[in-house]
Amino acid sequence: MPTPFPLAPASDADSLAGLLNDQELSLGRQVLSVGGITTGNTAERINSVTIEFNIDADKLKRLSVAVVPEGATQAEATAAGSPEAAQNIKRAFSTFIAPMLHTAELLDRSEVFLKSDKVEIVLLRETGPVAATGNV
C-alpha cells in the first residue's frame, strides 16, 4: 500500500535525490514517486514522496533526479501555440532523456520545488542497459 511522506526542503536535484535515496537506504521505504505540494502561497511549498515499505529497498539500484531543461517541459508543450511547436517540445524532451535511459528507467516525471522554485524533474533508477528494438 503506497504511503505518502512529506520531505524536507531540497536546494537542487542532487539534494532531492539524496533525500529520496535516504528513504530507501535508511528507512526501508521504496520510492515510487515524488511531487510538489503548495497552498498556492509561494512561501508554502514542500515536496512529498510516495513510498512502499520494503525491507530490501537498500538493495535496489540508486535513484537520480534530473531537471528537465527549459524548452522541453510538459508545461511549455501544453502552452505551445501550435501542434508543431508542442511536438518540437516533446522531441526536445526525448532528446534530453534518451541518453539517461540507456542505463536507467524512468520512475516518475513530475513538478517539484527546488529552493522553492517550481521545476519539472525526472526521477530515474539506475538499471542495466536496455535491449534495443527496431532500427536506428
Binding site: 514542500i46 541518453p99 536506428v136
Partner: protein
C-alpha cells in the same frame, strides 16, 4: 578541299581525347579520398568494422562515383554541343571549302540532329541530377566533420549513421529523378537530416540522439504524464509541516529499528522460520493481531502507526532475537 585534309589520324586523336575525358574523375580533389583511401595492392587490408571512418569513406566513394557520372554526362553534353557548332560552321563554309552537295547535306543533317540526341540521353538533366546528389553528400560530410574532426576507426556514432542515411537517401533521389519520378518528401528529409553535437559522441546501441529512437524506454518516457503540483489547504499544509518535524524527531528510532529488522530478516539461520520469529516478536510486544507477522508490515506499523511505547517495546524485542 575535303574533310580528309584535316589529317585523319589527328582528327581521330582529338575526338578520342574529348570522348575519353568522360572516363576521368576529379576525385583527386576530394578531401577525404585524398587523405584516406588505402592502396589497392595493400596486403594488410582487413574486414572493416562499422565505424565513422568507414561511413565517411563510403560517402566519399559514392560522391566520387556520382561525380564521375556527372563528368561523363557533362562532357557528353559539351562535346555534342561543340560538334553541333563545328558541323554547322563547316556546312556554312561549304561553298568556300568547295564541299560537294552530299557532304553539305550530311553536315547539315548532323548539326540539326544533335539536339535531338541530346534530348534522348538528357545529358543536361542527368548532369544536374548527379551534381545535386554530390552536393548533398558533400554537405553531409562537411556537416559531420564540423561536429567531429577525429572520426573514429572503431565506433559508429549517431552522426555517422545519419551520414550513411543521407548518402543512401541522395542515391534514392538520383534514381527517382533519372526514372522520371519526383523524390518524396521523406526522401528529401532523409537526405537532409541534420546532425548534432551530441550525435558526434560515441553511444551504445539503443541510444539515438538525433534520429528515430530504438530505445523503447524513450517513447514510454515521452508518453508519461507529468505529475503536477498538488494544491492543498492551509490546514493540510500545516499538518504536513508537523509531520516533517515528527519524522526528524523519530528518525533515530526508525534507523535503529530498520537496521535491527534487516539483520534479523537477512540472518541465514532464520531463512525458513522468519514468519514464526516475527509472530513471536509481535506476541512478546503484545501486538498479535495488530500487525501481520512480516517484515514490511512491521516496518510500516513502527514508522506510521505505533506510539512511542510500542516503538520502544518493539525495538527491544527485535534486538533480543538478533544473534550476537
Amino acid at each position: 578541299m575535303k574533310l580528309a585534309i584535316l589529317n585523319k589520324p589527328r582528327l581521330i586523336c582529338v575526338t578520342l581525347s574529348f570522348a575519353l575525358a568522360a572516363c576521368t574523375t576529379s576525385d583527386k580533389y576530394s578531401f577525404l579520398h585524398y587523405g584516406r583511401t588505402p592502396a589497392a595492392n595493400a596486403t594488410d587490408l582487413e574486414t572493416p568494422v562499422l565505424s565513422d571512418q568507414l561511413a565517411l569513406l563510403y560517402a566519399s566513394n559514392v560522391a566520387t562515383i556520382l561525380r564521375s557520372r556527372f563528368t561523363g554526362a557533362r562532357i557528353t553534353r559539351e562535346i555534342s554541343s561543340s560538334l553541333q557548332v563545328i558541323l554547322a560552321g563547316l556546312a556554312g563554309a561549304g561553298a568556300a571549302l568547295s564541299f560537294g552537295e552530299t557532304t553539305l547535306a550530311v553536315l547539315g543533317l548532323g548539326s540539326a540532329g544533335i539536339p535531338e540526341f541530346q534530348g534522348i540521353f538528357n545529358a543536361k538533366g542527368r548532369a544536374e541530377c548527379y551534381q545535386d546528389a554530390v552536393r548533398l553528400i558533400e554537405e553531409a560530410q562537411i556537416e559531420y566533420l564540423a561536429h567531429n574532426q577525429q572520426p573514429s576507426p572503431s565506433v559508429l556514432t549517431q552522426n555517422a549513421v545519419t551520414l550513411f542515411q543521407r548518402v543512401t537517401a541522395s542515391l534514392h533521389v538520383v534514381e527517382k529523378t533519372l526514372t522520371g519520378h519526383l523524390p518524396s518528401v521523406d526522401d528529401m528529409q532523409k537526405a537532409t537530416e541534420r546532425m548534432s553535437k551530441r550525435g558526434a559522441t560515441p553511444t551504445a546501441p539503443g541510444v539515438a540522439l538525433n534520429n528515430l529512437t530504438a530505445n523503447p524506454r524513450v517513447q514510454a518516457a515521452a508518453d508519461r504524464e507529468v505529475r503536477e503540483v498538488e494544491t492543498v489547504s492551509r490546514a493540510k499544509y500545516e499538518e504536513l509541516q508537523e509531520q516533517i518535524k515528527a519524522e526528524q524527531t523519530r528518525r533515530g528510532g526508525n534507523l535503529n529499528f530498520v537496521e535491527a529488522m534487516r539483520q534479523l530478516d537477512r540472518d541465514p539461520a532464520l531463512q525458513h522460520k522468519k514468519t514464526a520469529v516475527y509472530a513471536a516478536i509481535l506476541a512478546e510486544a503484545n501486538l498479535t493481531g495488530t500487525v501481520e507477522p512480516d517484515a514490511n508490515s512491521m516496518l510500516k506499523f513502527f514508522q506510521v502507526t505505533a506510539n512511542d511505547d510500542q516503538r520502544t517495546e518493539l525495538t527491544d524485542v527485535v534486538k533480543k532475537h538478533l544473534h550476537p
